[in-house]
């Protein structure tokens, strides 16, 4: 198990560098530059800018210098946000996104698992059809439609909650709900499917034949196998969660990492773009590793060497 973890951790670094390289390549291949937004600059000034940012060196040198720095975890300074290092920016804006993402997934898990289990137990009941149809809705309504509608109803209509910005718990509710909707839906459906499959298996029949009551059969015997699809879903879910926070941050004017990323892309702020991409790639890969490890704990048949 340990060697497995180490191997996976080791692979993360070259992978992240690969991602950074591809992104860097894309940025460099495209015409235009971070300063070309503004009016055409007089050549002398342009020369200065290029020298300042080391853009006058040949491309492979620039690549080499950048990579060397990155391995030291030095992503340089942001081009647009004068005087701030990329690391600072990431550090400052990450907590917003992380909080929303974490709570969104937590809520999705709690609601989704419960709904899925009950739906599976009461198959074909009104609850089953009702909850699965609602889940379908959750999958079909995009975040940028759901969010504003929630704001319209709860903030601007009923005055129960604040419509935007960061603040206390009440500020969190709408963004978290908006983000978690899709995942609630997926998790509810996956749980239901997983539980149904498990409940039909032979070993559940054995458990009943031993005289165990339904609650024990469900919680002790069925649950572990039934939630496995949800665990495997968590990996890809994280990538989607990232995209989701971008939308939520825009709608609710939250200064999170997603917003910063979009800005940096529009600004062609290369160091910032690369820094965020590298950071998020590593985060996703570590997360997938954690998911795989917990898989091993859930299912004793899986042995990592």
């Amino acid at each position: 198990m340990l060697s497995f973890i180490i191997r996976r951790l080791l692979i993360i670094i070259p992978m992240a560098l690969l991602v950074v390289t591809v992104t860097w390549g894309l940025i460099r291949l495209a015409p235009g530059n971070f300063y070309s937004d503004e009016k055409k600059l007089p050549p002398a000034i342009e020369e200065n800018i290029r020298k300042k940012y080391g853009l006058d060196k040949p491309w492979y040198q620039q690549y080499g210098i950048m990579m060397f720095n990155i391995v030291k975890l030095d992503f340089g300074d942001s081009l647009k946000h004068q005087g701030e290092t990329v690391n600072d920016i990431v550090r400052r804006h990450l907590p917003y996104s992380a909080t929303i993402g974490f709570f969104a997934y937590l809520v999705a898990l709690i609601v989704g698992l419960t709904a899925g289990i009950i739906a599976a137990l009461r198959q074909n009941s009104r609850f089953d059809y009702g909850s699965m149809a609602t889940a379908m809705l959750g999958l079909s309504v995009p975040g940028f439609v759901l969010g504003p509608i929630l704001v319209l109803i709860f903030a601007l209509g009923l005055y129960w909650l604040p419509p935007a910005r960061w603040g206390g718990i009440s500020n969190l509710i709408l963004p978290v709900l908006t983000l978690s909707a899709v995942y609630m839906a997926y998790i509810a459906r996956l749980t239901r499917a997983g539980m149904l499959e498990v409940m039909g298996s032979d070993y559940i029949r054995t458990a009943r034949a031993k005289g165990l009551d339904e609650k024990t059969v469900l919680l002790k015997h069925a649950l572990r196998g039934g939630i496995i699809p949800v665990v495997s879903f968590t990996g890809p879910a994280l990538a989607g969660l990232l995209a989701g926070t971008v939308v939520v941050e825009k709608i609710f004017a939250i200064p999170g990492l997603g917003n910063i990323f979009i800005q940096s892309v529009f600004n062609r702020d290369e160091p910032l773009i690369l820094g965020i991409v590298a950071f998020l790639s590593i985060l996703i890969m570590i997360f997938n590793l954690v998911v795989d490890i917990s898989y091993g704990f859930l299912d004793p048949r899986i042995r990592y060497e």
Binding site: V19, N124, L137, V141, P148, I149, L156, G200, I273
Partner: protein, 323 residues
């Protein structure tokens, strides 16, 4: 004797699946709504232009430059109201629907072509090539794709669209149309997002079909490898592929809407449901219909696609049924 049983089994497999699909009320509902939506976006704009003269871009002449209020609420004349520039939203939603659906379907086709070919070749050839091809899939899978797509679209979009994409869009849509070339760029960008899982699904199917007898028979009669893969194996792997494709369309449409919402997707003069929503959000407090109509229309379409996909999955794979 044996092949007759096999042929009978296969013909009735599809018919059985169709019967089962029709029994699923939700799936039928999805199919109907989808059909209505497709018809609406195809002939709708023409009908509207014919009856009222409104198009997606048309600004009624009564509205002068100096007029401050151009957004009208839903009325008989404008069933979905108008936007900030006075354009009829119903016309825009239908037009946007064309683009959204088109992008969804064509991008799915792109991912189908790439994914099916990749998976089929990998599964059929097996061994080291299979290993290599699937490792590439694994590697790409681990990358936060969406970030790269965002970067891709932003740096290559608009005036920077690479020449080949412009060439392609000119072939199909006429010269000098930046918006169109952006859409073509989207086809590829979005198609490249979902081909991975398709490849995995197809490879899995091919692996299990590879060793069956009809493949042996095809080989014995001298069919080339290419022929075997694409004329024999792929048609038999179709079931899960269809299901997955039907479920990819809404997923791709959501991604396109997401990108358009950020300003990276469909650009003016074209609109998609996502870009309409982005426009509409600005005025949510005063003119909520500008967001709600495109949003609800999109949700309805995705809803139907999802139900249809679900129904297809249940119809084609009855083991997942109740008992």
């Amino acid at each position: 004797m044996a092949e007759n049983v096999e042929i009978i089994k296969r013909a009735s497999l599809w018919r059985d699946a169709w019967k089962r699909l029709l029994r699923n009320k939700l799936a039928v509902f999805g199919m109907v709504v989808l059909a209505v939506m497709v018809v609406a976006v195809i002939i709708g704009p023409a009908i509207i232009r014919w009856t009222t003269g409104f198009t997606a871009d048309y600004v009624p002449s009564q509205i002068e430059q100096g007029d401050l209020v151009r957004s009208f609420s839903p009325s008989l004349q404008h069933p979905m109201g108008t936007d900030d520039a006075g354009r009829d939203i119903l016309a825009r939603v239908l037009q946007g629907g064309r683009i959204s659906l088109m992008v969804g379907i064509i991008s799915t086709l792109v991912s189908l072509i790439v994914g099916v070919s990749w998976g089929a070749i990998a599964g059929y050839l097996g061994g080291r090539i299979d290993n290599l091809m699937m490792r590439i899939v694994d590697i790409i899978y681990a990358i936060p794709y969406i970030l790269i797509v965002i970067v891709l679209l932003s740096v290559f979009g608009g005036p920077n669209t690479p020449a080949i994409i412009i060439w392609l869009s000119e072939k199909f849509g006429g010269a000098g149309n930046q918006g169109l070339s952006q859409i073509f760029l989207l086809f590829f960008a979005l198609g490249l997002v979902s081909w991975l899982t398709m490849a995995r699904v197809v490879r899995g199917q091919i692996l299990s079909l590879k060793n069956q007898e009809f493949v042996l028979a095809a080989k014995a009669t001298g069919v080339s490898s290419f022929g075997i893969i694409f004329r024999h194996l792929v048609p038999n792997a179709l079931g899960p592929v269809i299901v997955y494709a039907t479920l990819t369309v809404p997923s791709v449409m959501l991604t396109e809407a997401f990108l358009s919402f950020l300003g990276l997707g469909v650009q003016a003069p074209y609109a998609s449901w996502g870009s309409l929503a982005a426009d509409g959000i600005k005025n949510i407090q005063i003119f909520p219909w500008q967001l709600i109509f495109p949003g609800v229309t999109m949700a309805l379409t995705l809803f139907s696609l999802n139900f249809l996909g679900d129904g297809l999955r249940d119809a084609l794979d009855p083991q997942t049924r109740k008992f």
